[in-house]
Amino acid sequence: MFYLITWFILWGVLWAVYFMLDGFDLGVGILYPFLGKDEAKRSAIRASIGPVWDGNEVWLITAGGATFAAFPSAYATLFSELYLALLFILFGLIVRGVSLEFRNKGEAPGWKRLWDAGFFLGSLVPSFLFGVAFGNLFRGLPIDAQGFHGGLLAPLNPYALLTGVLFVTLFVTHGLLWLAMKGDAELGETALRRARPLWLITAVAVAAFLVWSALRTKLAENYLERPVWLVVPLLAVVSLALIRIWVSKGRPLQAFLSSGAMIVFTVFTGLIGLYPNLIASRLDPDYSLTIFNAASSPYTLKVMTIVAVIFVPAVIAYQAWVYRVFRGKSPGAY
């Protein structure tokens, strides 16, 4: 039981940290055509995430790998049932990665435009589809003994579309605050100024997500049973408010950290409602994949716990150190 709960938490933490870290560089990619009005600005925007985006993306691979090792059935069901969403996430991330790498390695304007478009779309599509995927996770999937019921487009239900939009707004806000922090005077100020109207949109999306989740999904049940957990959605709302306060005070670093916290608390708001399910069945709770019936053996979980205890703190330490090396305003060239 100890390992099961530990791995449910770790599973959530890995995904939440992934969204918190890659979230800002995905957001930066979505903002890229809007804020990158000229070559210098585009270069500065790319340079701001250049040294760190690759390391951020490894959290996704780790989250995927940990899902596989700790909850193999959940890994198998989730990725095969949401096949097309996953596929387009992968296409997006592939295109995005090479776009960043290739963009400055050719001179023709068409070449640069092509990879600029790749960077934008490769950021927007995965952001939205991660939201759709997690929306379906929170809502529950139509699975039973025969597997998945529902067509190709079943994952595109209204609630999941809302979480898709929610993820995009969260990431864009996060990216905007990153640019406010890293950009030179002009870019930084533009970003901070744009953060105000964008905050409002994000606030509406967060509110809609919380209300809809409470009224129309089963996520509320855990909260009704143990109201103490309401502190998590509350913290999400507090973080949201803090963003606005720090933006008003012109403190982008604090606003950025608040937005990171908001992403983590928002993801956990859903996951706490989900517990102990990993994938809830909408058809019959007997077919839900839970930490009890989808987990690896205790021996494997023990091995994985030791691995996590050794490596995750080390990763956090050296990744934080590299962030520190590149702290401050980023140089204009990439």
Partner: protein
């Protein structure tokens, strides 16, 4: 086509494509780390320029390796859900460790290396590329232990309707995994060396930047020679393990139909799978196959007829793959030896024929490595986990052929585009003038034209 056939094709395409980039990452990262080490030790700017010139090619290749690796991690769940459920208790472990222990090191420190010139001390910068090099070899270790387990499953019990880990020690000491790891990483090092030699040959043929490319060539030739000899040694061990644990694969590699002791090694033959024999056999070395397989000329080698047709791997691709791999491997020993010898004698630029072979031979180690994977993976068929689970039992139940056709077309189109761009960029930056790389500048020197 069925979901099974399509999923296999897709896995083959995406894995083979990913593996175009992996070996160069393995080999070139070590060479670049060595170059930068010499710079830090001697202060000679030549080595700094070398690290930057080859480092730029390394980074283009690295980026593609990273993004094409993503689908592999997720495809097990997407297309091979039944497999993932059945063996995830074991198979998930090395994948998760690979990400936590190796990918993070690689990706975090490649950022520091590429963007950190002048931001950190020389020694810390050098440490970054060494960490990248070590981490890429470490990641190879974990994924090949995973593959080694599929080839020779150990340390598990069948319980609760699935394979569960029972002995981590057995998993970590799986001889098949270790030998595959050595064989594969060393072949990546050889590929990296031949890549540097081939690109250097281009410049040496044009007599441009001679000191720079002579020095690059010499380092690569020494490295390549040592590694190509070691690859052969690891390959020999690998053959013994195949004979012991996967007799059907061994017979397919040699298209060997009738069980015999003192089995001969036939140098020239062509399989006739339909009639369970060979069209012709020519030049047999008595006892040769027994010797290779068991290191004893008298031992018995099982012929393919011993195995029911449903449990034999496809003979032709395995047979051809093995010949191509071994033939090219021997060629690489000769080529790297000649390179080392000629560089020592200072006779490189006059050996134009040799240099041309190296230049136009850049694709050869790629072909050898893909051929090796064909032997390993097609030779494992019809099993996904040897002797435990058939490939046909591993595929996702919920998929429709249309899903996989869509994804296969998507991957093929995107990968085709990426391959074209990658070759174009590698060629462009391989021809570039190393003198134009600014010391102290970032990874994007302003002038990239040759």
């Amino acid at each position: 086509m069925s979901v099974l056939a399509l999923s296999r094709l897709q896995f083959g395409v995406t894995a083979a494509f990913h593996f175009i980039f992996v070996p160069l990452t393995l080999g070139l990262s070590l060479l670049v780390a060595w170059m930068e080490t010499r710079y830090v030790r001697t202060g000679d700017e030549l080595y700094l320029k070398m690290a930057k010139f080859w480092g730029r090619l390394f980074i283009i290749n690295f980026a593609l390796g990273v993004v094409t690796g993503l689908p592999l991690e997720f495809q097990f769940g997407m297309n091979w859900a039944a497999y993932s459920r059945y063996v995830g208790d074991i198979f998930g472990i090395p994948l998760a460790i690979e990400a936590t222990a190796a990918f993070f090191l690689e990706s975090v420190f490649i950022g520091l290396w590429a963007f950190g010139w002048g931001k950190v001390s020389k020694r810390v910068h050098l440490l970054a590329i060494w960490l990248v090099a070590i981490a890429s070899t470490l990641s190879a270790f974990w994924i090949l232990m995973a593959n080694g387990w599929m080839q020779r499953p150990v340390g598990f019990v069948l319980r609760n309707g699935r394979a569960e880990l029972s002995d981590l020690g057995a998993f970590l000491t799986n001889s098949y995994g270790w030998v595959t790891f050595l064989h594969t990483t060393l072949s990546g090092y050889v590929l990296g060396a031949l890549f540097v030699m081939g690109v250097s040959a281009y410049h040496l043929l044009r007599r441009s930047h001679l000191p720079f490319f002579r020095a690059s060539f010499r380092m690569a030739a020494v490295f390549g020679l040592v590694c190509s000899v070691l690859v052969a040694a690891a390959g020999d061990r690998s053959g013994v393990l195949v004979a012991e644990h996967q007799p059907a694969k061994l017979s397919a590699m040699e298209s060997f139909w009738e069980t015999k002791s003192n089995a001969p090694l036939t140098l020239y033959l062509w399989p006739d799978t339909g009639n369970e024999r060979n069209h012709f056999e020519f030049l047999a070395i008595p006892g040769g196959l027994s010797l290779i397989a068991f290191h004893d000329a008298d031992d018995e080698v099982k012929g393919l007829k011993e195995f029911p047709p449903g449990e034999r791997p496809p003979v032709l691709p395995v047979f051809l793959g093995f010949r191509i791999m071994v033939g090219l491997g021997l060629l690489f020993i000769i080529l790297t030896f000649l390179g080392w010898w000629k560089a020592r004698r200072g006779r490189l630029e006059s050996s134009r024929g040799y240099l041309k072979i190296l230049l136009y031979g850049i694709p050869l180690p790629y072909i050898a490595i893909i051929a090796g994977w064909i032997v390993t993976e097609i030779g494992r068929q019809p099993w996904i986990v040897y002797g435990v689970m058939k490939t046909s039992e591993g595929v996702s139940g919920s998929l429709q052929p249309g899903h996989v056709i869509a994804s296969l077309i998507g991957f093929t189109l995107i990968y085709g585009l990426l391959a074209a761009v990658d070759i174009y960029l590698l060629a462009k930056y391989s021809r570039a003038n190393p003198e134009e790389i600014q010391p102290g500048a970032g990874q994007e020197p302003r002038k990239a034209e040759a």
